[in-house]
């Protein structure tokens, strides 16, 4: 299926009881099949943007695409693992497929593969309460990756992981990405990570929220984690950091 | 107004071609006070008269007239006062026969209390009277004797236990119930009749829909015969009652049967209803304000005539 473009047009949004609106006339476009990294200070509104893009929140002014129309073709990693406490790890990962009516056998294979990607085959039958914080987050990653979405939205998916595990997850994510080429939105606090993974880094800031800068990343793909120490990447990182 | 002698034990009417189904709703547990009805079924009297009778036992609060009204019973047992009050409220039921000539209602006291009649309670402020507060009977007593504020009424608990435990208690009772229980529990009671105080509505009235269906005269006749048979030989029906309820031991049944006998026949004889008695009940109910002052017993009861040829 084709990737879905993301577009914010003249978007206005305020949380109830908030003193000032979070967004006013906000605009941003992400062409189909590109991966955009969003960086910006804590509390500036990144998660809110993702919720708007996924249609979990409705803008009070303007238009957001795809919004709710993407339902079923969308995958999201929330900032918190957001697992269902009564389901095993495998059943948590299989949830999106179950909701789409994928038959059990096919589901089992897909789940096993997704768990393999995040290195959690061993705890497939454990309940979320018996996992460490980083393991829970990886379950959430597997749940988002278990299907081939048209739009993939991830809110700091790798923040809870150590450097090495994170590096392997980068590779797995990029392989997956190349397979389906969905549109991607990635919120991260790690500028290295943003530059390494994204086609473009958007620096956000201010209230109402605005785009402070956009930095295109034209490094060749696939990009291994070791690229991190390359000067080309370092230059881009410094370019982004200059706007933060 | 019609008046009648006790229905004579005339020979059985020719059985109807197909048996008429009659569901008879009782207003209390199956006990000797309904012995005649059970005898009618067991002894085949009803069957011979062309009736297939099904007895629906009741209990406290059994809505018998309501079952009649709802078409879930063809005949219902109720009390005359209840029938009169409900008729004024629109119930379409009419009394056609009365099992007890004297009301079974009264007051139970200890034999050593020195009480002779209910009215004596007026001079005994140390005694509490457990009674259905607000019931027509209670209101009648208090009004007639001017006991308001003088005699202490407390709610009954539906059991004679409190009476047995508390010597300062006298209790509203049915002659067919509490006296025998009290005696069996080792307290010798005396039963003070309500009828002596002018409260004497027929207590166990057979009611049918108003206007009564055509089968009623034959049914009444059969009932009268069944009851006569029961009074003469209660053993068979009583055995059935004991069989149905293993908490009802034979001694208790025997006691009740003896206690109720004089109340069944009274002075007018088994089954009779007289205009004077009905009017007396109406007047009593008017006095306590349960019936409108212009109420009359007219139409509340009839003596069913099978045909012009019937007695």
């Amino acid at each position: 299926m084709d990737a879905l473009p993301v577009a914010f047009e003249e978007v206005g949004f305020a949380w109830p009881a908030a003193p000032a609106p979070l967004l006013r006339g906000f605009g941003l476009r992400c062409p189909a099949g590109t991966l955009t990294a969003l960086v910006g200070p804590s509390g500036c509104g990144k998660s809110t943007l993702l919720r708007l893009a996924a249609g979990l929140l409705l803008p009070q002014e303007g238009r957001v695409a795809p919004g709710a129309s993407a339902r079923g073709g969308l995958a999201m990693v929330f900032q918190q693992p957001n697992l269902l406490a009564w389901r095993t790890v495998a059943d948590n990962v299989g949830l999106p497929l179950e909701l789409r009516g994928v038959p059990v056998a096919a589901r089992r294979d897909a789940v096993a593969e997704a768990l393999g990607r995040v290195e959690l085959e061993d705890v497939a039958q454990a309940l979320p309460a018996a996992l460490s914080g980083g393991m829970r987050m990886r379950v959430a990653l597997a749940r988002a990756w278990v299907q081939a979405p048209r739009l993939l939205v991830m809110d700091e998916p790798f923040a809870a992981l150590d450097a090495l595990t994170r590096g392997r997850m980068y590779d797995r994510f990029q392989a997956l990405w190349e397979q389906g080429r969905p549109t991607g939105l990635l919120v991260t606090h790690d500028v290295d990570e943003a530059v390494l993974l994204a086609d473009r880094v958007v620096v956000l800031g201010g209230r109402p929220l605005g785009v402070v800068a956009e930095v295109a990343v034209d490094l060749p793909r696939p990009r291994s984690a070791s690229l991190r120490h390359e000067p080309a990447l370092g230059a881009l990182v410094r370019q982004v950091e200059a706007h933060l | 107004a019609p008046s009648s002698d006790p229905a004579p034990p005339t020979p059985a009417a020719p059985p109807a071609s197909a048996a008429t189904r009659v569901r008879l709703a009782l207003n209390w547990f199956p006990e000797p006070e309904f012995g005649g009805f059970y005898e009618g079924v067991l002894g085949g009297v009803y069957e011979q008269a062309g009736f297939q009778v099904e007895i629906i036992p009741g209990g406290p609060g059994a809505p018998t007239l309501e079952l009649l009204e709802a078409g879930k019973a063809e005949a219902a047992i109720t009390a005359a006062d209840d029938l009169l009050v409900k008729r004024e409220k629109g119930a379409r039921a009419v009394a056609v026969w009365a099992a007890f000539q004297l009301t079974r209602v009264g007051v139970l006291a200890r034999a050593d209390s020195g009480l002779q009649r209910i009215g004596d309670l007026g001079g005994r402020p140390e005694l509490k009277v457990a009674i259905e507060v607000g019931s027509p009977f209670q209101r009648w007593l208090w009004q007639r004797h001017g006991w308001e504020g003088k005699v202490q009424a407390v709610p009954t608990t539906g059991s004679v236990a409190a009476f047995l435990a508390d010597p300062s208690l006298v209790q509203q009772a049915y002659v067919t119930s509490e006296p025998c229980v009290a005696r069996a529990r080792g307290v010798e009671p005396v039963f003070l009749r309500a009828s002596d105080e002018g409260w004497n509505p027929y207590g166990t009235v057979l009611a049918v829909a108003d206007p009564p269906p055509a089968w009623v005269p034959a049914f009444v006749q059969a009932t009268a015969r069944a009851w006569q048979a029961y009074v003469e030989a209660p053993a068979r029906a009583n055995a059935e009652l004991v069989r149905r309820n293993d908490q009802l031991d034979p001694a208790l049944v025997e006691c009740i049967t003896q206690a109720q006998a004089p109340f069944l026949t009274g002075t007018d004889g088994l089954g009779a209803m007289t205009a004077e008695r009905w009017q007396q009940s109406v007047d009593a109910l008017v006095t306590v304000g349960l019936l409108k002052p212009d109420a009359s017993a007219e139409g509340a009861w009839i003596v069913p005539q099978a045909s012009p040829a019937a007695p």
Partner: protein
């Protein structure tokens, strides 16, 4: 030498039972046996009426169980309906409360006329009494899922039925079971009180036994029958707890995970 409670979880309850029996016996000795028969008298009465009591307990137990099942079914349907339609909730919730307020003793005659004597009245009155706790618990339980979990489901295009069955219901089970625990005992009492009026004079129900024992001034038998009703409640309670442990024990005890 205090025995370890965690090794003998039944011990305290057994000791309490003993203590209660003792207190009961002591109080009974000082009270008239007509008002409060002693434990031995009750036991004797229970033994001599064992067959009738056993039959009655079975009978009432079935009525209470059926009433509870009915109430649970209807309560859940009601909770789901209220969950799906705020208008329906606003329109009906206050009146659901009224169902519980009707004094069964006063309503039973109506039930008798509408439903016929006997078991139907007992079942209806058990259901009537236990309906509201289930409804309330279900209603609250369906809102127990977190905002983010609901978002997750809507994100993946879950149908309303899927959201209910796979999210709201499991997330609400702990709350629902709290309601069911209370409802179980209520169903038994509802059945017994329904039988007071609707027993149809057939001695095959605990309601009849309680009442008739009062009528014949056999408090020991009355207490024995009440004891059977209590045992029934305990039985229903245990059934509910077993269901609870089976369905939510594993994850709920674990304290959940975000």
């Amino acid at each position: 030498m205090i025995p370890d409670v965690s090794r003998h979880p039944r011990l305290p309850a057994a000791l309490t039972a003993l203590a209660l029996l003792l207190v009961w016996a002591l109080v009974a000795v000082r009270t008239s046996p007509l008002l409060l028969p002693g434990p031995l008298a009750v036991l004797r009465a229970a033994w001599s009426a064992r067959q009738a009591l056993a039959e009655a307990t079975l009978h009432t137990g079935l009525a209470a169980g059926a009433g509870l099942v009915l109430a649970t079914g209807l309560g859940l349907v009601g909770a789901v309906a209220f969950h799906l339609s705020r208008t329906l909730e606003l329109a009906l919730y206050p009146y659901a409360l009224l169902l519980q307020t009707l004094p069964i003793v006063a309503v039973a005659p109506l039930l008798v006329v509408w439903l016929d004597y006997g078991t139907p009245v007992a079942v209806a009155s058990a259901a009537l009494v236990s309906f509201f706790p289930v409804l309330t618990a279900g209603h609250l339980g369906l809102r127990a899922a977190t905002v983010e979990q609901v978002e997750l489901f809507s994100l993946y295009g879950a149908s309303t039925a899927q959201e209910l069955l796979l999210l709201r219901l499991p997330a609400g089970l702990p709350t629902l079971f709290a309601g069911l625990r209370a409802a179980g005992g209520l169903a038994v009492i509802g059945a017994v009180v329904g039988e007071f009026v609707g027993s149809n004079g057939v001695p095959r129900s605990l309601g009849y036994q309680v009442l008739y024992a009062a009528r014949t001034a056999e408090p020991a038998l009355s207490f024995a029958a009440i004891g059977c009703a209590a045992a029934l409640s305990l039985g229903l309670f245990v059934v509910v707890r077993l269901g609870e442990r089976r369905l939510i024990g594993r994850w709920h005890a674990a304290g959940g995970a975000a």
